[in-house]
């Protein structure tokens, strides 16, 4: 049991990482990784949404009519996303302004629906919650890594504090544009597959 639990938590972060292995949620990870602060809040929001939606859907799993299950999942996810957006607007207004439309777009993030379909509908609520959270963490981890390099090399700052800019570094404008995020994610995938040979396709 303990072994299985550990698997549930660690797999989505490393071997089954939603972004680098499953290649899900790439779109939003290009958009919100210009600055670390935004990336962290986005990561936290996704963790909450995936975790709680998986939990709720798992609670309902035996009652959900099979033919309408996608709709029901969507309604639950949409509810969570709107709740997160509303709470951020009320308690973290400046960050919500910065993330603007991307919070709303969590609903289209394939990771959320993917985990509910693949895991929550066939497992008990607690493991489902863990699976959702772990997938959110796996997603968030890549977001933070990408945002670290993009903010550092693109703006010369980290969390808004000048790091490289005080050393006379000239900001690289390409880092700020989405294509560079894609290239960075590509590099992360490359590094990960070089270390873990089992991920390489034959």
């Amino acid at each position: 049991m303990a072994q299985k639990l550990k698997e549930t938590i660690l797999n989505p972060i490393l071997k089954g990482n939603p972004i680098t292995v499953l290649i899900l949620g790439v779109c939003s990870s290009l958009a919100v990784t210009v600055e670390l602060k935004g990336a962290c809040v986005m990561a936290l929001s996704v963790i909450i949404v995936t975790g709680v939606s998986s939990f709720i859907c798992s609670l309902l799993r035996k009652t959900i009519p099979n033919r309408a299950r996608i709709i029901i999942q969507l309604v639950v996810v949409a509810m969570m996303v709107i709740l997160v957006d509303q709470v951020l607007k009320a308690f973290a207004y400046s960050i919500d302004k910065q993330l603007s439309v991307y919070i709303g777009l969590i609903i289209t993030n394939c990771i959320v629906m993917g985990r509910i379909e693949a895991f929550a509908l066939g497992n008990k609520p607690w493991p489902s919650l863990l699976d959702g959270v772990a997938n959110g963490v796996g997603y968030g981890l890549i977001l933070v890594i990408v945002a670290f390099f993009r903010e550092l090399l693109g703006s010369g700052t980290l969390f808004g504090f000048p790091v490289l800019s005080s050393l006379g570094y000239v900001n690289n404008g390409l880092m700020i544009l989405p294509p560079m995020a894609l290239i960075l994610i590509g590099c992360i995938i490359w590094v990960q597959r070089s270390i873990d040979k089992s991920l390489q396709e034959k």
């Binding site: 210009v34 935004g38 709709i71 607007k89 009320a90 308690f91 207004y93």
Partner: protein, 245 residues
């Protein structure tokens, strides 16, 4: 129980939707006052920042308190520069972004408009501007001296401009700093210029545009000029009064 029957499916989905709707309605209603307060404080923070005040922006109360103790009068003016109403300074009544949007339609549609003017105790007059950027609306506040000819400062915000490019109208202090000390004559056909490739040296009513953000710079340029022209009669009157004094 047969969870695949039509009746069950319809009842179940209806029920879920009703429950979710109720949860969201409750959340929206209970958080609304807080959200509105945040939005108002943010607008006032932007007005104060444009007017070059140094103030404590750590809480909504601090921002509102500072505004209330420094504002002299706030009122609305129409196209002829006539006062058509007042904004209550005791409750820090202001024109929010949605109000600016509505007035922007009036200005562009050549309908009657009422635009807000904020005058602080130190004589600084703050006028809002509103227009279209690349992805969404851009707006901001321009602080002028009491004769409405000299710019003291400015602050801009946007809904969805690209961070690091168009977003610089808000995030880059150097862009904003260019406005301070510039002059503006609302009687000119084009009162203010945001120039791509750099403002010509010596031109006192022009600043450099943001490289890599041509459309945002253009949109902001248009917003500033359309709104300043809309205030032209008010500004002319304000200029006359100061000269008589």
């Amino acid at each position: 129980m047969n969870t695949n029957s039509n009746v069950y499916t319809v009842i179940y989905t209806t029920l879920i939707c009703v429950i979710v709707a109720a949860v969201l309605a409750f959340a929206s209603q209970s958080l609304k006052p807080r959200q509105d307060a945040n939005e108002k404080a943010e607008t006032i923070r932007q007005i104060l920042t444009a007017a070059q005040f140094e103030f404590d922006a750590s809480s909504n109360e601090a921002i509102l308190g500072f505004y209330k103790s420094n504002i002299a009068e706030a009122f609305l003016v129409d196209a002829d520069g006539q006062k058509t109403g007042t904004l209550d300074t005791k409750t820090a009544q202001i024109y929010g972004v949605s109000d600016l949007k509505a007035q922007n339609y009036n200005i562009k549609g050549e309908a009657d408009y009422n635009l807000p003017v904020y005058i602080f105790k130190n004589g600084t007059t703050v006028l809002p501007v509103y227009g279209a950027g690349l992805w969404g609306p851009v707006w901001g506040y321009i602080a002028l001296d009491s004769s409405c000819t000299q710019i003291a400062g400015a602050y801009f915000d946007h809904e969805s401009e690209t961070p690091g490019l168009g977003g610089k109208i808000k995030d880059d202090p150097e862009f904003r700093a260019q406005f301070a000390g510039k002059t503006v004559n609302t009687a000119d056909e084009v009162p203010f210029h945001i120039v791509k490739g750099g403002a010509p040296a010596g031109q006192t009513n022009a600043i450099d545009a943001i490289s890599g953000a041509t459309m945002t710079s253009k949109g902001l340029d248009e917003a500033i000029n359309i709104w300043l022209k809309a205030y032209a009669n008010y500004a002319a009157a304000a200029n006359n009064t100061t000269e008589e004094e």
